[in-house]
Each structure stands twice: as C-alpha cells, then as structure tokens.
Amino acid sequence: METAFEALIAFFLIVSGIFGFVGSFGLLKLRDAMSRLHAPTKATTLGVGGVLLASIFHSIAIEHHLSLHELLITLFLFLTAPVTAHFIAKAHIHMSETPETLPGAEQDGIWATHDVPVVEKTEGDKDSTA
C-alpha cells in the first residue's frame, strides 16, 4: 500500500515537473506575447496542481492525517491564474495591437479592450463609441 502511494506521489511530482518545465520553456521559446501567455497560465498551473496533489497524498499516506490546505491553494490558483492571464492579454491588446491587427470580433465589431467609452463630446469617427 505504502509503495503504491509513493509511486502515486512520485507520478504526480514527475507530471508536475514536466508541466512546469514545459511551461517555463514555452515562456522562453514561444514567439509572440499572446502565444507566450499560454505557457505559464496553462502548463505551469497544471504543474503546480500536480505538486499540490502529491502533497495531499503525502500527508495522507506518510504523515497519516488529512490536509486540505492544498485544496484551498488550488482554489486560489484557479481563481487568480485566469484573471492574471486575462489582464496580461488585455494589456497586450491595449498597448501593442490595433483593431486591424486582430482577428475580427464577430457581431460586436470591435474587441472590448479597444472599445473605449467616450465621456465627453469628441469628434468620434466610429459608430461603436456612440
């Protein structure tokens, strides 16, 4: 039984190591910002998740008590990682992209980040701002 658990823990650790490495490697390797965003947010989050699973099993099997702190960490990770990625993407679109360089935004006409609300009266040339 113990050995099986150890194998499980080792498996999660290895998986997390691989994902973590891939994520970090992707951050270096991928070409542009939007692609690079995928690496840490997806792969590395999974990697961290692996470590957390390993930790839970470790506490159950080796230390003989149930530890659920890791679940909380997972929860926070799942909450913060997408928001962070979202904001990085938004910042990128805002600073480095124009509506022309982006793929079309279907029926909305324009991506939300470019849809700047105009408070005061200006000679806006886009209908979308009205």
């Binding site: 997408p82 928001v83 980040t113 470019h114 849809d115 700047v116």
Partner: protein
C-alpha cells in the same frame, strides 16, 4: 474650594460657551459668567485664611522626575491678582455680551476668554516654576487667539502675530532664566526658591538668570524697548483690550517681578535695570500717549506708561516702594479697565475712535461722560480719587531715590511723566466730551443700554470709594499682598490717606496738574511740532527684523534641502556614514564569537533574485511602472526571507503591507509622469554611486559584524519568551508583545496611523477645495485608455474572493494570540478584500455601496482599544494590563479568552479604517463627472444590451 479647582474651573468651563452658543448668546455668556463666578467664589472662600496671613496650598506630584509638580499656593499677592483676574473677568463677560455684534462668533470669544482666564489664574497660583511657565506660555497663546479674534481684519492678525512673537520669545528667555534659578536652588518649587535669597544672589548665575527672567517680564508687561506690541494689540475687540491690556495679561510681568522680588531685588543690578527701564517706559509712554488720536492707542500708551511706573516702583527695591506698587496695581486696574470700556462704548455708539472726530459728547452720552471722566481724573491723579493716592505715594518714593549720585534725576523725569500723564487724561475728557456739540459724527451717539455701562460704572464706583475710604476697603488687601511681595517680615510704615500734609509730592502734583492744563491749551501747536519730528516706527523695525529672520531661515533651509530628495538623503547619509566611520576608527574591535551557517540552496536562490531585482531597479528606475514591479519583487523576497528565518509574523505583515503599498503607489502613479526624466550629470551620478555604495556596504558590514558576535548586553527576548504565556496568556510572543508588553506603544501607533490617514484626507480636501479641482476635472489621461475597464472575470472573481478573504482575516485575527497573525495583519487582509472590490468595479461604484465612514472606523478602533485598556482600572491594575482565562462551553472545546483580544480588535479597525481612508482620499483625485458606472462590470452577458444602447443614445 481647592486651589486645583479654582485653576481648573475656567478651563473646564471653556467648553460650555462654545456649546451653548447654539442655545443663544445669553446662554453662552451666562455659562462663561457662571464659571467665572464660581471660581471667584472659590477664591473668596479662601479669603479669611489669606487675611489671617496663612498660605493656602494644594500639592500634587505630577512628574516628580522632572521636578514638575502641580503645586498651587495662595498668598496675599496671588489672592490680589486672582481676585483682579476673576473679578474684572466677570465684568468683562457682562460687558462683552452687549459689546459684540450679532455677526461675531460669541461662543468662540468666551471660550478663548476663559482659556486665557484659566492660564492667568494658573500663573498667579502656581507654586512650581515649571508649571508657571506652562501657564505663562498658555497666556501668550490664548491672548494670540483673542487679539486676532476679528480674523477678517489684517491689523488684528498682524497685531496678534506681533504680540505672540514678542511675548512668546520673552517667554522662552524666561524659561531659561527660571531653569537656571531652579538649578541654583535645586528645586523648582517657588516657595523653596523664595527662601534662598542669599544663595541666589551669591551665585555667579544671578546675572544671567536675572536678565533672562526680566526679558520675559518686560516683554509681557510691554516695557521699553518691547513696548511696541501693546498698541498694535489694540486691534482686538475692546473687551479684550480692557481685560488683557489693562488689568491682567500685561500685569503678569509685574506679577512675576513682584513674585521674585524677595530673591531678585535689592541688588544694584536690579535697581539699575528695572528702575531705569520702568522710568524710561513711564515717560516715553506718557509722551507718546498725548499725541495719539485713536482713543484706544492713547489708552494703550498710557497703560505702557503706568506699567512703567509700577515697574519702576518695584525696581526701587525698597519695601515701601513695593507697597506702593501693589496699591497702584489695584488702582490702575480699576480706572484703566473702566476707561477702556468707556472707549469701547464711544466706539460702539459713534463708530469712531478718532479723537479729532469727537467732542461735545457730554450732552449726548451723559452716563458715559460721568464714568469716563471720573476714571480719567483718577488716571490724571486728581484727589480724591484712588489714582491720586498711589501717584502721591509714588512721587514721595521718587523724591527719595538717588540715581547714580543724582538726587534730582528720578524726581525730575517722574515729574515730566506725571505732567504728560495728567495732560493726556485731560485731553481724553476735553476733546471727547467737552467742547461744542458737532453734527458730523459717523453715527448718532447716545448712551448704551445698562448692560454695557454697568461694568465700567461698578469699576468707577470702586475708583471713588477706594479714593475716599482706601484704608477700610483695600487696606488689608494691600497689607497682605505687600507682605507677600516683600517676603515676610515687618511691613514698613505707610498710610493710605488723601492728605499727607505739605510734602514735596504734593507740590509736584500741583505742578503737574497746573502744567497739564497749560500744556493742553497749546496742544494743537505741540502736535504740529511732534508730527514734524521724524521718529522710528516700531512696526517697521519689527517687520524688518522678522523679515530678515525669515529670509535667513529660508536661506538655511533651502541650502540644506532644496526640495531635491537626492540632496537631503545625500546629506543625511554622508553625515551618518562619517559618524559611523568616526566611531569605527576611534573605537575598539572585538573578535567574532559566532560562526556563520552554511547557506543552503534556497537562500542562495533568494539572494540571487533579490540582487537581480535590485540591480534591475537601479538600471530601469526611470520607468516608474517597472520600478514599482521590481519593488514588489524585492518585498516578496523579503517576506519569504522572514518566513525562512522563522519570523512568520513579520512575513505575513510584510506581504500584506507590500500588497497595500503597491496598490496605493499605483493609484498615485495615475497622477504622475510614468517616466523619471534624466536630469543628473555623469559627475553627480558618480558621486551618488560612491555615497550609496559606501553606505550600503557599511550597513551590510555593520550587520555582519553584529551577527557574528554575541550581544554586548543580555537580550530582553528571554524575558518575553519566558513571560509571554505566563503573563500575557498567549504563545505568540510577537503578538503578546504588541498587545500586552508594549501595548501602550501599539496604542500610540494606531493613533498615529489614524492621524496619518486623517491628514491624507484633510490634504485631499484642501487640495480639492482649490483651483486644482478644476484642473483635475478637466484632466485628459496622459496615456490612451483601454475599454472594458471593469472586466466581467475580475468582478466575478473578486466577489467570490471577498467572503473568503474576510474569513481569512477573521481566522488570522482570532488565532493571533497564539499563532502567527493578529489584528494588524488581519486588518490589512480585510482592507485588501475591500480594495479588490474597488479595483474590480471602480472606485465610484464601490464607494456608492459603502455606507460606513472610514473616519468612524478609525475612531471606533482607537476607542475600543482605549476602553479595553481602561477596563484594567476596574481590576485595580494599570492601564492596558491584560487579563485572560479559560471558558468551557459544552459542545465546544475549552478555549481561552483574553482582554488583549479587544485591544487587538481596536488595532484591526484602526488599520482597516486608515488604509481605506488613505485609498479613498487618493481615489477622489481621479473622480470626474460621468466616471461612475451604475453597473458593476462593463460587459455583462446577463444584461440586456439593448437597454444600455438606448441609454447611451439618450
């Protein structure tokens, strides 16, 4: 009544007029009057004892370590002055009720007046010179408020400033003199000092102490050459002038000289400094007063002159002269206060104080005419009024005084002063009341209501009665007061009566009176000559001196820090480094007693990150966003470092402080340029690198050296570790130190924190009240704005996070006493939970849904902490002693309670309030019309978009 209560009553009562003004002006003045009356009653209860020659005392050791004791004592002199202060104060309160107009904030006036009254009573009753100095400064401050009471008048503000500058700096000199005196006698108690005449006069410090104390007394009593502030202080409302500048405050200097008379007087230095100053002041004031057209200026200079007279008498140093001085203090207070009030009445009714525009008022204002005339005749020294008596006695003393072997100098100068004094008194009567009735008064003059003339009428009655029956009315008072001045022993023979026979003094009086009538008849021609002579204008000189001093201090200040952060940090760092270098090279070095531990891989990684971030910070600091991120990195590594080095409390604090700081800085960056311009030369940068490098390496080396050695003294951490659980009931030593061992520090700190937040709020308010507001409202963003500022994902996530974050805060709070955590960290976490809402949906949206004022949260935090601390009193323990115990409620496990929890709750609330208030204040700068969205998020699929579009089109 205890002396404590007499001294404290005006201060306690000062609250009521300010509050009761809402119930009307009568209620306000009645409360002020009642307070004064009570204090006066308390004083009179002690009268029998004082007249028996006893000294009433009340002692309380306040700060024995400093020699500062709240000791009061009441002897004849104190009784006389306290009686004057409270008695005339009562009359002034009555008079002011009818003098002040509806537009004047009367509650404020009475509050200031009572504060002043309390400070004055404090001076005359103090038995401790340090206490006396405190009250002395308080009179300067409260009189500043009173003189500048009409804030809208530039003359009032300038006069108040001048009075404060002159009397305040004199007070500083006096502090030094008093401290010297206290050191010589090695006691700060007046009663002890007054016993040690020989010791003090034999001391080499006698001269400096004398000069410094006299500086204080002379500035306060407007003696030459400091006499100039008094006329400028006449910009005050007339009740203030009547109270401060005739009866009380300017007499504080005289009081002090009289008080110190037993130990300071009797030497040549005393005689030549004090008597000469008094003599000059007396004649100078009298001469100038004659040529003043402003009624109050005339009275002001005449006050200067009479103060000089009393100073001179005290300066003579003979016992009989001291008796005369005391007598004249009483007489001057009565007739001069009456005169000021009459001048106020004239000003009030005719709307002018210019003598040239007055005249013939005797028919129009008969009551005022009688009052003012009697008072002025007394001032001129006409029998049978009280002014005559003391003037006669003064002349008698002057005749017997030799100045530098010349027996004629003092009598001669005094005669001139008496002549001018009688002249301006006559002028006051003749040019205001006598003469033909005019038809060009600025207003229709008539006698005021009884409320206004009652107070001066009472005083004038006293003037007459004291003149006629002086021995019966003031005889005992003069006796006990003079007895106190001369410091025990037999009183010399004197008699308070009108007729002394044909003495030189009588001849001098006759000469002065007759001469005055002659002089007045040629006053017009005299005045032309006077106006033709160039004279130094005191205000110009004063302004030049103050201007010069301001320029000098500005030069020094700007030389040291010219608003360049680099400049003053360089000065500071170089100074500290050279100090440390000096200490290092002159001190001895010890060998290291500890061995270092081998660094593991984790510390090395942390170190590399820290160094990397720091170096990047140096390289990229021109980009402020990047440097902010790097600062964040440094902060995070430091908190990890704390955790690694077994300081979880510090780590938690550091990380939460870091988050809040970065958010606040980001907010501030919103209003600032995003780049720091390149403005230093290469040489400057090289210099700065050297300074920074040396100081950094120096500090590093110092810490290394410190850590390699055992402490030179045993550390107190042993005590804390041993007593944390036993004494404080908690196993988290850090928290127990904060809420228990050093609870008082923490209490102070949360107050400071709250004040800091309130200051930020106040600054914001002040800035937004100026033109900056318009600028901010029209501000265009300095960089392109993005759409979808409040994205759905962020909004939803922060809503989910809020209860969790608050729960974490609660958890951290409750476990704080025994495990890492506590009120401070919990407060920061709770603040972050709220800040997240602000960030997600925008400040305006969140602020509209935030119903509690942060001011109140700060206040309640401080109050809760204070109440918890005071709870210890119920237990008979000192403030903030914590108690703890255990509770067992069946379904739950046994748990501990500690009063420290309540204190920690106060810390928690203060932190939450302070952080949020700071944030709110900064956010208010960004507010612009139309910025507030009624929706929590910009794009919400659940919302009907058509509705929005319609709205937008409208």
């Amino acid at each position: 009544m205890s002396l404590f209560l007499i001294a404290a009553l005006p201060f306690l009562g000062a609250v009521f007029p300010a509050l009761l003004i809402r119930a009307g002006r009568n209620a306000s003045s009645a409360s002020a009057g009642a307070t004064t009356f009570l204090a006066l009653l308390g004083l009179l209860v002690n009268a029998p004892a004082v007249f028996r020659g006893e000294v009433v005392t009340a002692r309380f050791d306040w700060l024995p370590g400093l020699g500062l004791n709240a000791n009061f004592y009441l002897d004849g002199l104190g009784f006389l002055f306290a009686g004057l202060i409270l008695g005339i104060g009562l009359l002034i309160i009555l008079y002011a009720r009818f003098y002040l107009s509806r537009e004047d904030p009367m509650g404020q006036f009475y509050t200031y007046l009572l504060l002043f009254q309390g400070a004055m009573v404090g001076i005359v009753l103090s038995d401790n010179i340090l206490l006396l100095l405190i009250f002395w400064e308080l009179t300067s401050l409260s009189s500043f408020l009173l003189i500048g009471y009409w804030k809208h008048l530039p003359a009032g503000r300038q006069g108040a400033r001048m009075a404060l500058a002159v009397t305040g700096s004199g007070g500083l000199a006096m502090i030094a003199g008093m401290l010297i005196l206290g050191n010589v006698v090695s006691s700060y108690d007046l009663t002890v000092i007054l016993q040690n005449k020989e010791l003090i006069q034999a001391s080499p410090y006698y001269m400096p102490a004398l000069i410094l104390i006299l500086l204080g007394a002379f500035t306060k009593s407007a003696q030459f050459p400091f006499h100039f502030w008094l006329p400028h202080a006449m910009a005050a409302p007339t009740p203030v002038s009547a109270y401060l500048h005739s009866a009380t405050m300017v007499k504080a200097g005289l009081f002090l000289m009289a008080r110190m008379w037993p130990v300071l007087a009797g030497t040549d230095a005393w005689f030549y400094i004090v008597a000469t100053t008094g003599l000059i002041t007396m004649v100078l004031g009298a001469v100038i007063a004659l040529f003043k057209d402003d009624l109050k200026a005339l009275l002001a200079f005449s006050t200067v002159s009479h103060l000089g007279l009393i100073t001179m008498l005290l300066g003579f140093g003979t016992k009989i002269a001291a008796v005369v001085a005391v007598f004249h203090i009483i007489n001057h207070a009565t007739f001069k206060a009456a005169l000021f009030m009459s001048a106020g009445i004239i000003d009030h009714e005719t709307h002018t104080r210019d003598i040239k525009r007055l005249g013939g008022l005797r028919h129009l204002m008969p009551v005022t005419f009688v009052i003012a005339t009697v008072a002025a005749l007394s001032m001129a020294g006409i029998p049978p009024l009280n002014g005559f008596l003391s003037k006669e006695m003064m002349l008698e003393e002057a005749v017997h005084t030799t100045w530098l072997n010349s027996p004629y100098l003092v009598p001669g100068v005094v005669l001139i002063a008496a002549l001018f004094s009688a002249t301006y008194s006559f002028r006051f009567i003749a040019h205001v009341f006598l003469g033909p009735k005019r038809d060009d008064y600025p207003a229709k003059p008539h006698d005021p209501g009884v409320g206004m003339w009652l107070a001066p009428a009472i005083l004038v009655t006293l003037v007459i009665l004291i003149g006629l029956f002086s021995k019966a009315i003031v005889g005992p008072l003069v006796a006990v007061a003079s007895g106190a001045v001369i410091g025990g022993g037999e009183l010399p023979y004197y008699s308070l009566k009108i007729w002394h026979g044909f003495t030189p003094a009588l001849y001098m009086s006759i000469v002065a009176t007759v001469g005055a009538i002659v002089l007045l008849s040629v006053h017009g021609r005299f005045e032309q000559i006077w106006n033709a002579i160039p004279r130094p204008e005191a205000k110009v000189i004063f302004d030049a001196i103050i201007g010069g001093m301001t320029a000098l201090s500005r030069k020094i200040t700007e030389g040291l820090h010219n608003r360049s952060m680099a400049r003053y940090s360089a000065i500071f760092v170089v100074f500290v480094v050279s100090l440390a270098g000096y200490a290092y090279y002159t001190g001895t070095d010890s060998v290291p007693t500890r061995i270092g531990i081998e660094p593991g891989i984790m510390p090395i990684i942390g170190w590399i990150c820290l160094m990397g971030a720091t170096i990047c910070l140096v390289v990229f600091h021109h980009n402020r966003f990047v440097s902010l991120v790097l600062v964040g990195v440094v902060g995070l590594i430091i908190s990890i470092g704390f955790n690694y080095l077994s300081a979880p409390d510090l780590a938690l604090t550091q990380i939460s402080v870091e988050v809040v700081t970065i958010i606040l800085l980001l907010l501030a960056l919103n209003f600032m340029p995003k780049e720091t311009p390149w403005e230093t030369t290469n040489e400057r940068r090289f210099r700065d690198v050297i300074i920074a490098g040396i100081s950094g390496l120096g500090v590093g080396g110092l810490i290394y050296a410190l850590m390699m050695r055992d402490f030179a003294f045993p550390s107190i951490s042993e005590f804390h570790l041993a007593n944390s659980y036993k004494g404080g009931g908690g196993t988290n030593v850090v928290n127990v130190i904060l809420v228990d061992f050093r609870g008082f520090d923490t209490f102070g700190e949360i107050i400071v924190l709250g004040i800091a937040a309130l200051v930020i709020y106040a600054l914001t308010e002040a800035v937004l009240g100026t033109r900056v507001r318009a600028h901010l409202l029209n501000r265009k963003p300095d960089m392109p704005q993005s759409g979808d500022a409040h994205p759905l994902m962020m909004v939803v996530v922060t809503r989910v996070m809020m209860p969790i974050a608050l729960m974490v805060a609660a958890y951290i709070f409750f476990r704080g006493h025994n495990l890492p955590g506590g009120g401070f960290i919990a407060g920061l976490i709770a603040a972050i939970a709220f800040i997240m809402q602000y960030m997600a949906s925008g400040f305006s949206w969140a602020a509209e849904r935030q119903k509690v004022f942060y001011h109140g949260i700060i206040g309640s935090g401080v109050l809760i902490a204070a109440i918890t601390g005071m709870g210890a009193w119920l237990n008979g323990k000192p403030f903030l002693t914590s108690a703890f115990g255990y509770i067992h409620w069946p379904p739950l496990e046994e748990f501990e309670w500690a009063t420290a929890m309540g204190f920690d709750l106060g810390v928690f609330l203060a932190v939450v309030g302070a952080v949020m208030l700071a944030l709110e204040s900064l956010s208010r700068f960004a507010w612009q019309p139309g910025i507030a969205s009624e929706h929590a998020m910009d794009i919400n699929p659940a919302r009907d978009d058509d509705e929005i579009d319609e709205k937008k089109e409208v």
